[in-house]
Amino acid sequence: MTSFVNIQFSNLSKRYRRRSILDGVDFKLHKGQCTLLCGTNGSGKTTLLRIMAGLEKPDTGTISTGLGEIKWRSYRRALQAKIMYLHQHPYMFDATVRQNIAYALRHGYSAAERDKHIDEALQWADLEPLAGVSATTLSGGESQRVALARAWLRAPAVLLLDEPMANMDQESRLRTHALLRQLKSEGMSIVLTSHDELQFQSLTDRQLRLKDGRISTDSIQTQAENVSAFPIGQTARHHTA
């Protein structure tokens, strides 16, 4: 099994038809760190994130860990339990909010334990009033909270989020921010994309700017304290992934 402590992607490139999306990108994923990939539309942020998630295969490039270089196929195989990817608009299965969250629960729990963990996840994301609602009817902000509740329940080593606050109102942004902060405080490595770096300034440890498929700047952030306006994301975790 691949260790996701300090995983290194080197010289990644990706083309769609004749257009170069990524052109020799080097990126190192550090444990427990929150990294922001920023850049304009079409700069390659989402493609880089999807390569990390194993959803897109790079045309060239290598992936290595402390144990040495690993093949793409091995990386993808190792991914399933370790990395979780959230789309810009998280997909909600045609089922209730509760059932959507239950999908993320790992195997090996009794029915009573399952119910308890799902209840905790609902409470964590302040989704209890929506538990029985059809998830396909949720707003963008609510869907994002369901997606984050699934992430909290699944507890991956690395969480990848594509534009997690796109098209959200201020209240939903604050809620999402609070949940991401909680996930980070639990030691989860987070990589997220945004074209607006200010939105995540207080959350990120590191900022990479992509331009024309290349990393143009790589900077370490100095974090400002940010007290959440929403008392959510405070539920204690009783299960281990």
Binding site: M84, Y85, A95
Partner: protein, 233 residues
């Protein structure tokens, strides 16, 4: 008009009184067609999914082939399999000709193209994020496939209805491969063809009513589930 009324009345009487010959024919029809579709569903839907989501050499050619086979006449399937299963054919030693197994094979050949071509369209309509979300939430490929199938269930159910409707009503392949043997390989369409050729319209109309009721029932079921909105996850 009077003879049509009288034949229809006789047909209803045959159905209502539980005529053993008539209900035997209906039973054979359902047994053969249900077996054929149950065998066809897993590989066909898997192939349909791969054609909709996979990228491999020959994919476009396969899609074209299965789309073309949608309009394959049942008698051509019957003739081809007849030549394969007849004594001189490559599978003649299996002695399958004029058995229900041969009819099942013929109906599989007819419904697989429908399941693959129309299933491909149904899977193409699915949101790709459904598969990716299922996988990123730790689902195995099989569980993720079942999840996507659940998401497009109404489309797939319509595909199954189309395929089942096609094979339970086809005459050509069943006639050539089954031989229309009473109480063994005579099914609803071959019985209708035979009785009509003899001028015995009552049984033909009775069997026609069964086919119509079947189509009505299955469509009603589809609309019921569509209206209900969801199955249990």
């Amino acid at each position: 008009m009077e003879s049509l009324n009288s034949a229809t009345f006789d047909a209803i009487r045959l159905l209502a009184t539980g005529d053993s010959e008539l209900w035997g024919i209906i039973g054979i029809s359902f047994r053969v067609s249900t077996t054929a579709i149950l065998i066809s569903i897993p590989p066909s839907l898997l192939l349909a999914f791969m054609l909709a989501n996979g990228r491999f050499p020959g994919r476009r050619l396969l899609i074209s082939v299965f789309s073309t086979l949608l309009s394959l006449p049942a008698v051509v399937v019957g003739l081809t399999l007849y030549l394969v299963l007849s004594r001189q054919g490559p599978l003649g030693d299996l002695r399958l000709l004029f058995t229900q197994s041969a009819m099942v094979l013929g109906q599989i050949a007819l419904c697989v193209p429908i399941l693959v071509a129309m299933g491909h369209s149904a899977f193409q309509a699915a949101d790709r994020r459904a598969w990716e979300t299922a996988r990123t939430l730790g689902a195995s490929p099989l569980r993720a496939l079942l999840t996507v199938m659940h998401e497009v269930r109404f489309g797939l159910f319509a595909v199954l209805l189309a395929a089942y409707g096609r094979i339970i009503a086809e005459v050509g392949a069943s006639m050539m491969l089954g031989g229309n043997i009473l109480n063994y390989t005579r099914n609803i369409p071959t019985a209708i063809a035979l009785e009509t050729s003899k001028g015995e319209f009552s049984q033909g109309i009775a069997l026609g009513i069964v086919l119509l009721l079947l189509a009505f029932g299955l469509n009603g079921l589809l609309h019921y589930f569509q209206g209900k909105g969801r199955f249990a996850t």
